[in-house]
Amino acid sequence: MSGQSGGQDNPRGRTEAHLAAFFGRGEAFARQLIAENERLRQEVADQRGDESDGSILPASVVEDLVARVSELENQLSGGAQLAVDPQSVREIEERYRTLEREAKGLGETIERLEGENYHLATLYIIIQQFHAAKALGDVLQTITEVCLNFLGVGGFSLYMADEERQVVFPLIREGAPYDELEERPIADDGPIAAVAGLGRPWQGGDPVPHEFGVLMYLPLVSDERLVGVVTLESYLPQKSGLSDDDFAVLAMLSEHGGIALEKVWIAAHASSAPLTRRALESLLEA
C-alpha cells in the first residue's frame, strides 16, 4: 500500500477498501466452487467403483453418443438430408448467385483489359518496327505485315508521291495484279485529293474516302507532307470489317508509316554527307 494513502476518508482509500472486500468475496466463492466440484467428482467415482477412470461421463453415455454419430454418418452416406433451416439455404444460395455474378463481371473485365493490353502492345510493336527501319524495303515490309497480319486486309496497294509531277504512282500491290494500277494525279477531285487535302495524318473519326473497288484510301503523311497513299481493297476471307482497334492501327499507320517513309528517303539522300561539328552546330542554331 502506498504511504500516500490517507485511510478510508479519501476516495482512493475507499476504492481500495471496496476492492479488497470484492476480491475477498470472490476468493471465498471460488473456494466454495472448487470444493463442490471435488465433492461431485468423488461422488461419481464412488458410484462407479473400481471401473472409474476419472471421467465424469459414464461409459454408457459415451457409447450412446458414439452410436448416434455413427447413425448420422450412415444416414448421410445413404443420401439422407440433414434438417436445415430453409431461410439459411436461401441466404446461402443468394450469396452464391451474387458471387457468381461478381466473378463473371471480373472475368469480363480481365478479358477486356487483356484485349486492350494486346492492342496497345500491337501499336507499340508496329511503331517500333517503323522507327527501326533503315531502308525503303523495311518500311514496305512493315506496311505489308500490318495490312495482312494485323488488319486482315488481303488486297491493298501502296502508292508513293511524286512531288515534282504531282502524282501518286503504284509501288507495291498485294492480292491483285500490279499491272492494273496507274498513276493518279494528287489534285484531282477524287479520293486521292480528299486524303491529300487533310494536310495531316488520318485519324479515327475522319471521313473514310472510298470508291468502287477500294474500301479506304489512307494517306501516309509526315507532318503535313503527303508521302504516299495506301488503298485497302479487300479483306482476307476470315475478316468481314474493321473494328475500332483496326481504325487505331490505321491512324498509327497513316502517321508513322509516313514518317518512316520520309525518314528512309532522307537517309538515302543524306548518306553522302558526313556528320560534322560545324553542320550539327548550325542545325542547333537554326
Partner: protein
C-alpha cells in the same frame, strides 16, 4: 511447378514466323502464361536448327515463309519420330477451308487465322499443353 491456376507445367514453345512484329505479338501474348518459355525462329530452316539443339513441347508456325514454309516444316517434323508427338499450331493468313484441311491432314494439331485474338491463342496453347485439347 507453379501453383497459378492459369499456368502450365514447365514447357517450352517454338514460335516460327518470318514477320518480326507478328512473332513479337505471339510471344507477347503467350508470355502471359506462367511456366511457358518461348523461343523464336525466323523461318522453317531456322526452326529446324533450333529444334536440333533443344527440346520443345509445342511448335507454333506460320505457313507463308521463305526457304522452308510452314506446311513443309510440318511434313518434315511428322516424318521424324522425334517430333511425331509434339503438338503443332498453325497461325496463318490463309483462311480457306482447303488450306486448313491440308495442314491438319499433314499433322498439325490446330489452325488459327490472322489477325489473331490473343485470348484465343492463349486458351488454345493452355489447352494443348495441359492435355485437354488436341486441337483442330
Amino acid at each position: 511447378m507453379s501453383v497459378d491456376r492459369d499456368s502450365v507445367r514447365q514447357a517450352t514453345a517454338l514460335v516460327v514466323d518470318d514477320s518480326p512484329p507478328m512473332r513479337k505479338m505471339i510471344v507477347f501474348a503467350l508470355s502471359r502464361i506462367p511456366g511457358l518459355a518461348l523461343v523464336e525462329a525466323d523461318d522453317g530452316v531456322d526452326a529446324l536448327r533450333k529444334l536440333a539443339g533443344a527440346t520443345f513441347d509445342l511448335i507454333i508456325t506460320d505457313i507463308n515463309m521463305p526457304i522452308l514454309d510452314g506446311l513443309k516444316l510440318v511434313k518434315r517434323l511428322r516424318a521424324d519420330e522425334r517430333y511425331q508427338d509434339v503438338p503443332i499450331i498453325i497461325i496463318t493468313t490463309e483462311g480457306a477451308a482447303e488450306d486448313r484441311q491440308r495442314a491438319l491432314a499433314l499433322g498439325a494439331n490446330a489452325y488459327i487465322t490472322k489477325p489473331i485474338r490473343a485470348g484465343e491463342v492463349i486458351a488454345l496453347v493452355r489447352g494443348i499443353l495441359s492435355g485437354e485439347e488436341r486441337g483442330a
